[in-house]
Amino acid sequence: MKIKVSRFKQEKTFVEEFEVRENKTLLENLVEIKQDKDSTLTFKHGCRSGACGCCSVRVNGQERLACKTKLKENDLIEPLKNYKVLKDLVVDSSKEEELLNKTNSFLHKKEDVNISIKDEKQIDRQSNCILCQSCYSSCPVYEVNENFLGPYALTRALRYVDDKKEGDKLAILASIQENGIWDCTLCGNCTFVCPQAIDPKMDITNLRMKSAQSGFEDKSMQNYNSFNTGFDPMGGFNPNGF
């Protein structure tokens, strides 16, 4: 079986074919390629069990963790999108800290409350995030707004907004209004690609609701109108829109 791997070295991009083994994961195959065929092939890996989040790549355009992905004939392996490619399948994801910082997604003030099984379950899914950057890569908003806070940072914001221990939910909500929850198109790409079955689209919808309830301006209609839906209220239908 053959797969195609996108290579990037010395400022040149090209695609190379490699023979691989069907019953092995993508990561196991990449390691074997490095061992037996091309020692310069560059990719990242850590835990090999889907918890460290550093081996995410795109398989036929869709974000996947290399360590948990089985291959099919002619699969195309590429680096994540929306980040600068450093070499082969490695991207520069150093923006992560800045995004988390901007969303204020951490416990601000501890409330003295009782936590029940239900309370803990409320944030279980969101706190399973492994920061693999898959959702960031899948997000179309970055093409028009590079300052967008993005799916994982917003899901993390909800993880603390929904944490009963958090005593200052407003501080988090206030920091995600600009370039945040209202800029999302709710396309659901992030939800589709998350290896941890997190639903950032739903989390962002939740954050919109909680923001509106807390007195923040509901900008969903404003964005809806500014987004090109294909319908031009002044001149009828625009066939180039969608």
Binding site: Q35, G46, L100, F106
Partner: protein, 533 residues
Amino acid sequence: MTTDILVIGSGAAGLTAALESKRDNIRVTVVSKCYPTNSQTCQAQGGINAVLETTEDDSIEKFIEDTFIASKGIASKSSIKKMCQSSKDIITWLDDIAVPFSRNEQNSIAQRKFGGTKAKRTCYSSDYTGLKILHTLYDQCIKNKIEFLNEYFLLDFIKEDENIYGAVFLDIKTLEIIKIYAKSVILASGGYAGIYENNTTNSSFTTSEALVKVYKNGATLSNLEFVQFHPTAIEGSNTLISESARAEGGFLVDEKGNRFIDELKPRDEVSRAISEKLLKNEKVFLDLRHLDEKLIDELLPQEKQLAKTFKDIDISKELLPIVSAAHYSMGGVLCDENAKTSLKNLFVCGECAQGNIHGANRLGGNSLLEVIYLAKKAGNSAFQNLQRATIKEDIKTVDFEKSIENILSNENIINVSKEKKEFGEKLFKSLGVFKDESNMKTLLSYLEELEQRLKVSTIEDKSRVYNKSLIEFLEFKESVYMAKLIAKCALERKESRGAHFRSDFKEQKEEFEKISIVKYEKEQDIISYEDAV
């Protein structure tokens, strides 16, 4: 650049130490060869031990006893006592910074039973305990303005006399060299069980170079011969299946479907029972078929998913073939109760530390506890140290630009990935669950030969952009030295104790009821023994 406190490593130990040492006017810099949440802590699924007010049928005394029994007499009762006593405060601290611990019906933190313990003592967050602790700590570090330098590889420490004044790093992205001068340095770089390539549950980042660097700078290492082999890794991929699978009632069965050991005995005993069968080319399975499927979905979702991904097996309906794999290193940089090392300004915590708590074997659920416990000590000691320490920049170091250039210009090209595979297999065979003198001596000659060969070798990739081959080459050189040290210490300990099992000396001997010490003196590895204090 200069900073006040330099933390090397960004797992739970490094991040806790950073938070503990941080004050408004104090600059704390965490330098890591990966991104913080890539660190191996994320793999600690099972949990963290503690005696809480709500813990039933348990006491600090029982906790101390269990930990000391597992150590096989070579840990410090006083250190264990202090850790066990502070376990409640540690859980409270973690809970207070928003680690989402699983709860029980009474709204208390839920606890479950792990191997080698008398009570349900292990707190958890479903089976993502380490992951959730690590990410919560990271969020707190961002809140507290801890500085991060990610993807920087440690080349050496900056040292004069017996004082550490900082460290030298290689920027993995550009191969530029930076020196970071600091008043206090905290080493939290992880253990060395990861060097058993292809036979380890550890992360690929856990390659032990920092331990060798600090050793060659004069730090005392201890108990290196004690490497814990986890009983249950998935056959083929070596993916860890947490002890919680057995804690929740899972069985270990042989090819005929018979149980052959009490599954909740200490890990060394269970691993040996399994390895005995594997060495006879028999298969061993983890059997969870008798458990309620709902309980598996609720409490072991990650194990269920891992078995499906790596073996295409549904653990609620099928047997899962397992092997034992190198999992945890009990040894490391020897430190006192305040995480101080034999070098001034240097503190140590996490798996790279030997704080006389685990001794010859570590109990499940005790590593995360020791990580946080010792990291708080290290952070606090590093902060206290600022009062007496100074920044010292006029220290001559090796010309690392030149040594990197030399490596890249060598002629003998080797494939590090291929070499590592062979190295890992040899280590697992000769320095694994069962060891003996003849195998270890053969291994040592191979390691000596490999070490010499690496000195004149290079890699195919000569680029200066994200040269992962170069990083793996630099890691591998130190892993080989680390393997030599483990083998030398294991040869010297002519007895069996805890995780260290000699086929040629099967009994535990009183004369060895001591910790081993190894020091680098005049370019020689000098081994001695001391009482654990």
